[in-house]
Each structure stands twice: as C-alpha cells, then as structure tokens.
Amino acid sequence: MADGNCLISNEWICGEYVRTRGQELTDATLEHVGITLASVAIGLLVAFPLALLARRWRAVAGPVLGLTTILYTVPSLAMFSLLLPVFGVSAAVVITGLVLYSLTILVRNIMAGLASVPEEAREAARGMGYGPLRLLFGVELPLALPALMAGLRITTVSTVSLTTVGAIIGYGGLGNLIYEGMRSFFKAEVLTASVLCVALAVVADLLLLGLQRLLTPWARKSRKGTT
C-alpha cells in the first residue's frame, strides 16, 4: 500500500503518521519524560527522610506505612481529580499524584534495605569512629542500595505508565495523544503513543539496572525478597 494512504484508511501502523507528526510525538515524549523524572526525583527526596524517621521511631513507622498504603489504593483518576482544586489545571497535579504513589514502594524498600545492613558492619564503622551521618552515607546507604534500586525501578516503571492518566487534565505526556486518538478513532496515533510509552518504561528500567550495576560492583545480584 502507498504510505500516504494509511492515514486515510486509518491503519494501526502508519509511517506517514510518524513522519508528519514527528514534532508532536517528540513533544509528548519529552513531557512524559519530564513528568516521570520530576515525580521520581521528588518521590525519592520525600521517601528517604520518611524512611529514616520510620526507622528511628517505631511509633512513626505504623502511620507512615499505613498512610502510604492508603494513598496507593486511591485510583489514579480520582487522585488527579482530588488534587485539581489544590493546584488548578497544571502539571503539578499529575506530578504530586505520582509522587504520592511512589512513596509506598520507595519508603518500604528503603526501610527494607537499611534493615538488611549487617549489624557487624555498623559496629565496625562505629569502632572506626564514624559519626551517625558518615555511617548512614558511607556504610548503610551503599549496603542498602540493591533494595533501594529495586524499589526505584518498580516506581519508575509504574510512574511512566501512570503518567498517561494525566491526560484527563491535558498533562499526560504520551497519554494526551492516546486520549486524542481515542476521541478521533485515530488508530496510528493511539498505537504509536502506546508503544512509545512502553518503550520508555523499558528503557528507564534498563538504565536504572545499569546504574545499579555501576554503583554496587560488589553485589552480583540483588537479594531475594526485596525485589
């Protein structure tokens, strides 16, 4: 078939679509990557202190874990809608929602990772005169990295796919294209955006896996039970 005709005959796979709407696809992908990166980064920044607090005071652990679990239960469409009055129609709505979702797994995995640090390693570090901060960043955090990275990978992949629901308020990255395509029954647009979205998740996962290998040369494989 001629390439120009696939737009008219509404084929699922259409080279012409990618050629003519390349800019649109690139913009949507960049928005998608931006939203995902912002959400995961803020999620990490919030989850880390929370995990430390929960580890320090047992009384904090229950409420923190309970609250993040409850947040995880809230459907994405509802989450974005509930945040709408707070931020108005902006990317902040989607990012905040995704940050709240990411906390569940990140807090749990950071705590699990820190709990898995052998007591002997801590004792040895204290004996060498390490203060609490140096102990945390020099010994505990590196040893907790496999669990932390596992959580980060799960969170990132979920965030990439959840971003699409942001289309309901027009900030869903590739989800916007899927939403548009749904309304106009434009098959090529929906399929291309969906495939790109999955590809994005896979690439992000592999990048993080590579980063984990680089950061933890001593760990040949991530421990069971934390992934």
Partner: protein, 245 residues
C-alpha cells in the same frame, strides 16, 4: 477549601443519587464490572499459578508477567481494545483490559505462595504418601493462603481503581461522575466522584483484609506469625498494615 464544602453539598443532594446517571446506578455498574472481572481473572490465573507453583516451574514467567503488567499503561490497552474490532461489543474492551491487569498480581502471589510453601512440610507430606492432588489441597494451598489472598486483594483494589478509567471512553461506573464533572467544568462534582471512588477502593481493601483473616485456614494455629510476617513480593501493592504489624 471552598471546593470541599461544595463537593460535600453535591454528595448530600438526594437527586444526585437517583436515576440512570445517579450515584447508586453508577456504583452498581462499578461493582458489577469489578465482580465479573475479578471472577474471570481468578478463574484464569489461580489454577495456572497453583499448578506452576506445585511443579516448581515457571518462576521467571510469573516475575516477567508482573513486570510487563506494570510497564503497560492500562489506559493505553483500554483505548487500543476500544479501537479494535472488539470495540463494538459494549463492555468487552473494558472487561478484557481489566482482566489483563488483574492477572499479574494473582499469578505472582499465588505462584510464590505455593512454590515457597515450607519445603520440609511438603517433603513430610510426600513421605506420608500424599498424592500430588492431596498435597496441593491439604498442604500447599493452606500454607499459601495468606499470599494468595494478598494477590486477590491487590487485584480487587486494582480492578476497582482501574474500572474508573472505563469512563474515559464513555463506559459506565463511578468514573462517569468524574468525567461528567470535567465536561461540565463542575469541580465540586469531580471531587465528589473522586471521593466516592477512593472510598470504594478503601472499603474493598478493608473487606478483603477481613476476609483474609476470617478465611485463613491456619488462623487458629500458633506459629502463624512466621508466614504472615513474610513479605509478599514487593513488586505487588504492599501487604496492608493489618498484616505486617
């Protein structure tokens, strides 16, 4: 927060609850859709997972399926099915999309539960001359019950949550209250609908936590803690605090 007060007023207005667009009707649709999808996915996933766990094969498959499930956006699958020839068959695109996404947690948790049932107990049961079927029924399933329930609960909450998306292409369920609110630029209605969906998801979560505690075949035994404290694979929605504390 003026909007919250207005959303509350929306919820307190009786006329919003009646009629074909009313809350009761939408809630009925939502629960029906949830029930059908959960039943189908349990019927598909659980027997396969138990069989695989019993013979101890396919662990990689279980993990990969749950990873793939996370990477693929539900919304995208819903729209793709909608534009496929299936799209003309009413609810089917939604049902299939929901079932596809309920299967990974069911499969992974049930597989891990059966496969990691205490090996010594399983060996002892074999030594007592139990057949494969007896072993599954009397030993592996009771031991795996907490994890299987975790999977069912995760899947149920996920289906309730995802069924909301069915409203985007114009399906039924509580999500319609949210999308209708967006169309009318009626923020109080959007928030009211979101509150309803979130509340329903939490209620379903709570009901399944209770069910898991009541139905657990091992609940009157001591030594339960060691299994209950075992974490489900962290790639699932985490076990509820009720089970981990």
């Amino acid at each position: 927060m003026d909007v919250v007060a207005k959303a509350w007023t929306w919820l307190a207005t009786g006329s919003h609850w009646a009629g074909p667009d009313g809350v009761w009707h939408r809630l009925g649709q939502h629960l029906f859709l949830t029930f059908v999808c959960l039943a189908i996915s349990c019927a598909v996933a659980l027997p396969i997972a138990v069989a695989l766990g019993h013979i101890g094969k396919g662990g990689a498959l279980a993990v990969n399926i749950s990873n793939a499930g996370r990477a693929v956006p539900t919304f995208a699958v819903l729209v793709l099915l909608l534009l496929s020839p299936l799209g003309t068959h009413g609810q089917w695109p939604t049902i299939i999309a929901l079932v596809l996404f309920a299967i990974p947690p069911l499969l992974t948790n049930a597989y891990v539960g059966v496969h990691e049932a205490d090996r010594e107990v399983v060996e002892a049961a074999r030594g007592m001359g139990m057949t494969g079927g007896q072993l599954i029924r009397r030993v592996e399933l009771p031991l795996a019950f907490p994890l299987i329930m975790t999977g069912v609960r995760t899947a149920a909450v996920q289906v309730v949550a995802t069924a909301t998306l069915a409203a985007l292409p114009g399906g039924g369920g509580l999500g319609r209250i949210i999308t209708a609110g967006f169309r009318l630029t009626d923020t109080p209605q959007v928030v009211a609908g979101a509150v309803l969906v979130a509340a329903l998801a939490l209620v379903v979560e709570g009901v399944f936590v209770l069910l898991g505690l009541v139905l657990d075949p091992m609940r009157r035994r001591t030594g339960r803690r060691s299994t209950a404290a075992r974490r489900p694979p962290a790639d699932q929605a985490p076990a509820s605090p009720a089970l981990t504390t």
